[in-house]
């Protein structure tokens, strides 16, 4: 027993310093462990390092990962062409549309330039008409080939779709039903596309267009055939606005409106011919 005690004391003398170091080391280890496992403790220490790394990645992303990303995208496109086409189709469609519109503008300008250089009587006459009419000469050429014509005007009550009045150059199917169907179509369009605050303004066939002009309690539909030029559109807009102001806003009987429409729009159609 006394031997054991002596041995222990000897150990104490010999290893005292090591034990103390070992205890300190264990304590330090526990502190480090606490810092690693405790988010609050670890965060302020790690964050600056991570931020530096993120900054470095942001600045050097293309040189570090560029080739891999390009390869991945290429493979992805090859493997799922249909999806890519579907995703790009609307964007490409818009680009093509924009391109065609721009090309048409250029063509129109080119026609104008060529006309400026031409000296034929026909061209001179066309230019005179264009000057007086306020239309571009290029519009005049198009108009000469497929001249726009006002075919029909319908004045329709907004909500009910009831026909208030109509004027038609050419015979048409039942206008009451047409008025109802156009109203239903307008309602459908605004419901289907969640456009309650907006209104349908045009229905377009190839060479036939329905221009729709909306007012508070009624709307007016102008059916136009031929190539609709901006000039003719403006003319129709002026007619409609003038008619709405002069006739419709005066709260007349339906029969009186019908009569006024015939006189008013017939005069305009005759003048346009």
């Amino acid at each position: 027993m006394a031997k054991d005690i002596l041995f222990y004391k000897l150990k104490q003398i010999l290893f005292d310093e090591e034990w103390s170091e070992s205890r300190k080391l264990a304590q330090k280890l526990e502190e480090v462990n606490n810092k690693i496992e405790n988010r609050k403790e670890l965060q302020p220490r790690v964050e600056p390092i991570l931020n530096d790394k993120v900054d470095f990645l942001q600045q050097n992303f293309s040189s570090l990962f560029g080739p891999q990303v390009t390869r991945t995208i290429k493979t992805q496109i090859k493997e799922s062409q249909d999806e890519v086409v579907e995703a790009l189709y609307p964007i490409i469609g818009k680009m093509i549309k924009k391109y065609i519109a721009r090309e048409l503008e250029l063509l129109s300008e080119k026609i104008d330039r060529q006309l400026d250089n031409a000296f034929s009587w026909e061209n001179l006459w066309r230019k005179i008409r264009a000057w007086f009419g306020g239309a571009a000469a290029s519009d005049m050429i198009i108009r000469d080939s497929v001249e726009p014509k006002l075919e029909q005007i319908l004045v329709i009550e907004q909500r009910s779709g009831l026909l208030i009045g109509s004027f038609s150059v050419t015979p048409s199917i039942d206008q009451d039903m047409t008025a109802g169907m156009i109203t239903a179509l307008k309602s459908f369009a605004s419901d289907a596309f969640y456009r309650e605050a907006e209104d349908l303004e045009m229905i377009e066939y190839e060479t036939f267009k329905l221009l729709i002009r909306n007012f508070q309690s009624f709307y007016i539909v102008a059916a136009v055939s031929g190539a609709l030029t901006q000039h003719f559109k403006n003319h129709i807009d002026d007619l409609i606005l003038d008619f709405a102001d002069k006739v419709l806003n005066k709260k007349q009987e339906s029969t009186a409106i019908e009569k006024e429409m015939k006189t008013y729009f017939k005069k305009s159609v005759d003048a346009n011919q």
Binding site: Q158, S160, G161, L162, M181, F188, D191
Partner: protein
């Protein structure tokens, strides 16, 4: 004197709204069921006590509830024909609630309720049905056999003109 009015037909799908209009406007009936897509507008002029009533009839596609029909189709209506199928309880189970909703959306607008397809019930069953049905003023009609169709529209027309 010609007065134009908008009449809409409401009711669940397959109750015979289009058939009633076909019978009323064109005197026709077809066994083939074709679901209505969106709206179809027809018209018929009725003479009610010397007044020419130009009825613009909107045949609106049936839904599981008339509240699911776009509101804009219903706005501006001067009269409503609410149709149900006498052989299909699901088409009239909720009828009171549906009529209340229509009344809220179109206050003061006359509504005529029509129980269609009575030809499928037969006289005895129809009598029992009428006796047990909780709504009053319903017109029991058959577009197939042309029973009470004209009357339904006429009664609505009269109510609109009142």
């Amino acid at each position: 004197m010609l007065i134009s009015k908008k009449v809409i037909l409401l009711g669940k799908f397959g109750v015979g709204k289009t058939s009633l209009i076909k019978r009323f406007v064109f005197q026709k009936f077809s066994e083939e069921y074709q679901t209505t897509i969106g709206v179809k507008v027809d018209k018929k002029i009725l003479n009610i006590h010397g007044v020419e009533l130009n009825m613009l009839i909107w045949d609106i596609a049936g839904e599981t509830s008339s509240m699911r029909v776009p509101q804009s189709y219903k706005l501006g209506a001067h009269g409503v024909l609410y149709v149900f199928d006498v052989t299909r309880p699901s088409s009239y189970d909720n009828i009171q609630k549906e009529l209340q909703e229509i009344g809220k959306l179109l206050p003061g607008v006359p509504v005529q309720v029509v129980g269609n397809k009575i030809d499928l019930l037969g006289d005895v069953r129809l009598q029992k049905f009428r006796a047990s049905f909780f709504l009053e003023g319903v017109i029991y009609a058959s577009a197939k056999e042309d029973v009470q169709v004209e009357e339904a529209f006429e009664r609505l027309g009269k109510a609109i003109l009142q």
